[in-house]
């Protein structure tokens, strides 16, 4: 699959090194995902380590972005994997990939915590575009900065901003609409187009 030709000025670049996929022997097959979940339900330590090895970095990074501190990100990571163990029996492969399911758990926990504590991330995220630089410098070991840049390149600047507010700050479409004085319907439409573009770009990366 080719990347979305939304940015004709930049040639497609091979994206490598995203921990949740090719850093660990390629994507999991549906059978492997089911097996991993079965082992998780039984409390198999090795299954937890495999799951963490694949997705720990993504969950931790999301926690950093949402909550703004390494300590809070670590707590979120721990809570996410415990919640995944608790909910493992509810996982239905027919409704989505294991990685998607796990990241939804992490995001919901993170947004709940943001709302509960009525605070915003310490690192104020005005725009998702800043992701590619900030986290690298703060952590020094982000898996692949180029991957993030390439993925973001498929979004328009308006879509990047909306994704930043919705996903990394947990704002509702209505809150964004009021804050940015954009019609609610436009916010929803842009969020949808942003998600579809990111999905396609991510799919292209996975196929490499």
């Amino acid at each position: 699959m080719a990347p979305i030709p939304d940015n004709p000025g930049r040639p497609p670049r091979r994206i490598t090194g995203m921990r949740s996929t090719d850093a660990h022997e390629g994507p999991l097959t549906p059978d492997a995902e089911r097996d991993l979940v079965r082992r998780l339900i039984s409390g198999d330590e090795e299954a937890v380590r495999i799951l963490y090895g694949r997705f720990g970095g993504a969950v931790y990074g999301l926690g950093l972005r949402l909550l703004g501190s390494p300590e809070a990100a670590q707590e979120l990571t721990q809570d996410t994997f415990v919640a995944a163990w608790r909910k493992a029996a509810q996982y239905d492969p027919a409704r989505g990939r294991l990685s998607t399911w796990l990241m939804v758990i992490a995001h919901n926990l993170g947004v709940d915590r943001l709302r509960r504590e009525s605070r915003r991330p310490l690192a104020f995220v005005e725009d998702v575009e800043r992701l590619a630089g900030e986290v690298v410098e703060a952590e020094g070991r982000i898996v692949d900065r180029l991957a993030a840049e390439e993925m973001l390149a498929v979004l328009s600047s308006a879509e990047r901003r909306l994704m930043g507010l919705a996903y990394y700050r947990g704002w509702t479409a209505r809150e964004i609409s009021l804050h940015d004085s954009i019609p609610l319907g436009t916010v929803k439409t842009r969020l949808r187009s942003a998600l579809i573009k990111l999905r396609r770009a991510h799919g292209w990366k996975r196929e490499l």
Partner: protein
């Protein structure tokens, strides 16, 4: 509900920012509509891509912390399976069913709103059941929360008064069906000697609001649990009863 209306909400559903009150019926629609399920799955993959953008290297010690935390949780579950707590869980579920039946009667008159409240209360009771599995039953009191108005709202509270020196007492409240625009809602324990604040109720999942609090020691004379709206009026109330 028409697909066009649901699809308008799916981006927020996938992003996890959809209004809590809308989640249950969107989820219900998805169980019956393959087209919207497909759209949701695609949007979810977009969300996963957004998550991957923030991938960062965690500190090396975090892996062992995560593994230990899951092992602790799994250990607790294994221990409680051996504990004589089946009766507690069964009681919690029976209470949930009773409350659900009462709400179902109202549902006929009040439609989807009551159905949502009933489902939320039943799910809250199931979650309480999981908590109860961890307890011996000593010092546990429970309150079914009923609306003081004609509202279809309801919920459940549980209070644990530990007799172990140094151990914390705690209270947990989960409610559903309260109108969003009349909050913020707060929960309290009430007794002859005064009231004890449990805390503000925050949106949880699927239209629920929840609050919990840890206490050094809960005063022993607490008789009921109340939920107050933004104006301080009692909107839900229930007597605490031993399990």
């Amino acid at each position: 509900m028409e697909c066009s209306h649901v699809r308008e909400l799916l981006p927020e559903y996938a992003l996890g920012t959809l209004r809590a009150g809308d989640v249950p019926w969107v989820r219900e629609h998805l169980t019956a509509c393959a087209g919207c399920r497909k759209e949701t799955a695609e949007l979810m993959e977009g969300v996963e891509a957004a998550a991957a953008l923030a991938t960062a290297e965690p500190p090396p010690e975090l892996e062992d912390r995560v593994v230990s935390a899951v092992a602790r949780a799994a250990g607790r579950r294994a221990r409680r399976r051996r504990a004589p707590v089946a009766g507690l869980l069964a009681a919690a579920l029976l209470l949930a069913l009773g409350w659900g039946a009462a709400m179902a009667g109202r549902a006929e008159r009040l439609g989807d709103e009551a159905e949502t409240a009933r489902r939320v209360a039943a799910e809250a009771a199931r979650e309480f059941g999981l908590f109860l599995e961890d307890l011996s039953g000593e010092g546990v009191r429970e309150a079914g929360l009923r609306s003081t108005t004609s509202s279809v709202a309801g919920g459940r509270a549980i209070v644990f008064d530990s007799d172990v020196p140094g151990a914390s007492d705690w209270a947990l409240v989960i409610v559903g069906g309260l109108p969003e625009d009349e909050g913020p809602y707060r929960a309290k324990l009430r007794g002859e000697g005064g009231s004890v604040r449990i805390g503000r109720l925050w949106p949880s999942a699927e239209g629920r609001l929840a609050a919990y609090a840890l206490f050094g020691a809960i005063p022993g004379d607490q008789e009921d649990v109340v939920v107050l709206d933004g104006d301080g009026a009692v909107v839900l109330k229930g007597p605490l009863e031993p399990r």
